[in-house]
């Protein structure tokens, strides 16, 4: 049973990353009509920024949690201003192709300097060790990742669904021209939205650094799984992305325990099943 709980925890952690990443993808898609293929590369950049901060600047994990998403977010906003904004009005597919190119560039540069092996990033002192819950041993850092991700996801949901800024954002998603007519600077909102989505990816990268090591290709395979998560859950609702992300993480964890051979394919298989039963995905909106 110990092993089952351990795998469930791993599943919840992966689910946190799926949720944070698919949330960012959904927010970006809503405003920019672009599927951000560079999301995995920017997630990796988040982890690397944390690594640089610690090893070059001596800046610890807690500050990295704040600084890395900001730095990567600014990098993302520069990408949006210099490249992505020129795609407005073109077929969606061009956004996918452009961001795929950006992902290749970013991953290639990092691979060139850091190879393919992983760099260690140690768990901050305050979160070292674990607690015995009676039925299982819980490493504190892992528990922290799940709880913190959940809080960030819910805060993002609150920001978008319940605040004035979020209302502007949702309105601009529905009808940007009309929102502009009310004197709201929609292009700036688009840039900030991209920064927000990218920042969430970077945050996930920092969280994963102590668990998965810091590798140039850490986001390359992950982003494909996240795409499958997005296909299953749809990009229509923020809460939908969060729930689907966590749920699929847990299912993957359970698979690791009961049938490990299928653990890296189970999300894709689920996607196939969902598409066969309900071709429009779980949220039911036609694409």
């Amino acid at each position: 049973m110990q092993a089952l709980y351990a795998q469930l925890l791993v599943g919840l952690i992966n689910g946190s990353f799926y949720a944070l990443l698919s949330l960012g993808l959904a927010v970006i898609f809503g405003m920019l009509n672009i599927i951000n293929f560079a999301h995995g590369a920017l997630y990796m950049m988040g982890a690397f920024v944390a690594y640089f901060l610690l090893n070059l600047g001596g800046i610890n994990y807690w500050w990295a949690l704040l600084i890395a998403p900001v730095i990567v977010g600014i990098f993302g906003m520069i990408l949006e201003r210099t490249m992505l904004q020129w795609l407005a009005g073109l077929d969606h597919l061009y956004g996918l192709l452009l961001t795929f190119g950006i992902a290749l560039i970013v991953q290639g540069v990092f691979q060139n300097y850091f190879g393919s092996s992983g760099l260690p990033y140690s768990i901050p002192d305050q979160l070292k060790g674990g607690v015995n819950l009676g039925f299982m041993f819980l490493p504190i850092y892992r528990g922290w990742v799940v709880v913190f991700s959940l809080v960030v996801c819910l805060a993002t949901w609150f920001l978008i669904e319940k605040t004035q800024l979020g209302a502007y954002l949702r309105a601009a998603t529905e009808n940007p021209t009309l929102v502009r007519a009310f004197g709201i600077n929609v292009p700036r909102m688009i840039t900030l939205t991209y920064g927000l989505g990218v920042g969430l990816a970077a945050l996930a990268g920092v969280l994963s650094a102590p668990i998965n090591q810091v590798r140039p290709l850490m986001g390359a395979d992950l982003i494909i799984v996240v795409f499958a998560v997005v296909v299953i859950g749809g990009m229509g609702s923020i809460m939908g992305s969060i729930i689907t992300g966590f749920a699929l993480g847990v299912i993957e964890g359970l698979t690791k325990y009961f049938y490990p051979e299928a653990s890296n394919t189970v999300v894709f298989v689920l996607m196939v099943v969902v598409l066969l039963v309900k071709p429009t995905g779980l949220t039911g909106r036609a694409a």
Binding site: L96, L97, G101, I105, V109
Partner: protein, 322 residues
């Protein structure tokens, strides 16, 4: 809405004559390669990728469907052909048939899953499906995991043509490429191709005219996958191995890149693009990971500045369809 190929010039008999002339020039040039001293292995490899890119282009350029998982057809056909040749000891022609048939079957199954979703979702689904296959092949015993299937016997095609001779193999690959190319050309210019183009331009209108668009897209998808598989089977004879690289997402990306560089929705673009990208990889092989970076830069440059691609720009200048 679809701005993928917003400058397509309508086909006229005149344009068709131009295209046949370009095709004839291309065929003659390619047939002359063994007499020029150019390394035939390079050209054979490029021809396989050119056919692959043409098959991919049939789907995006004429059906408006961006498959980000076309490597699955290349890899699957490669594995099945390699296994048939090496383990079952089938002759080359049956090895090719087996690989191509496997790709057709894969097209039927994955098309059934993915074709109902449009645009961006279709791309993500095909990418996810090819990643699923990647992991299956990684674990399946017959693919030999990371090692791949190596040392594949080339044999005698129809019992006559000795494929271990580079020149003979070259002409076999060339004939295969030209046949596939003509099949795609014929498809594009058939009534079926016209319906595909109408779906690309305006699917709701095509539906309102009474076309069952899902069936048309499905057929185009299977045809594209089958031809991509055919290219994969041919490649087995050239490379003499079948490995995981051919199923990896980065291979799917390369196929997209070749077509994009040459020109989406142009007839000769994918061929030019394949030669450009393969040549680039050949010459820049010493630069390691920088090749990936350069490919990324080309992607970005093509999308931002150069959406018509090489052949598309040329066609635009000459006001012809190529």
């Amino acid at each position: 809405m679809s701005a993928l190929t917003d400058d397509t010039i309508p086909m006229t008999p005149r344009a068709m004559r131009d295209e046949m002339m370009v095709f004839a020039v291309m065929a003659v040039l390619l047939a002359a390669v063994p007499f020029t001293g150019i390394y035939p292995f390079f050209v054979m490899q490029a021809l396989c990728f050119a056919l692959l890119a043409c098959a991919f282009n049939l789907l995006i350029g004429y059906g408006g469907l961006l498959s980000f998982g076309h490597a699955m057809f290349l890899g699957t056909a490669g594995y099945v052909s390699a296994h048939a040749l090496k383990v079952w000891g089938l002759p080359p022609e049956l090895g090719i048939v087996a690989g191509t048939a496997a790709a057709a079957l894969l097209g039927l199954v994955t098309g059934f899953i993915s074709i109902k979703r449009q645009g961006i979702y279709f791309s993500m689904i095909t990418l996810a499906l090819s990643q699923l296959l990647y992991f299956l092949y990684l674990q399946a015993p017959f693919t030999h995991g990371e090692d791949g299937i190596q040392g594949i016997p080339q044999g005698h095609l129809f019992g006559i043509f000795d494929l271990s001779k580079p020149t003979v193999l070259y002409y076999v690959v060339l004939v295969g490429f030209l046949a596939g190319f003509l099949l795609i050309y014929r498809t594009i210019n058939s009534p079926f191709g016209e319906v595909l183009k109408s779906i690309r331009e305006n699917e709701p209108r095509a539906i309102s005219l009474g076309y069952k668009t899902d069936q048309y897209k499905m057929l185009a998808y299977i045809l594209s996958g089958t031809l991509a598989g055919f290219a994969g089977s041919l490649k087995v004879f050239v490379a003499q191995n079948a490995s995981l690289t051919d199923v990896h997402w980065s291979m799917s990306g390369e196929i997209v890149l070749m077509t994009l560089v040459g020109g989406l929705g142009t007839i000769f673009g994918p061929v030019v693009g394949a030669f450009v990208i393969i040549a680039m990889q050949q010459y820049l092989a010493g630069f390691g990971q920088w090749v990936t970076v350069i490919q990324g830069v080309i992607f970005v440059a093509c999308v931002l500045l150069f959406r018509r691609g090489l052949v598309g720009e040329l066609a635009h200048l000459l006001r012809r369809s190529l």
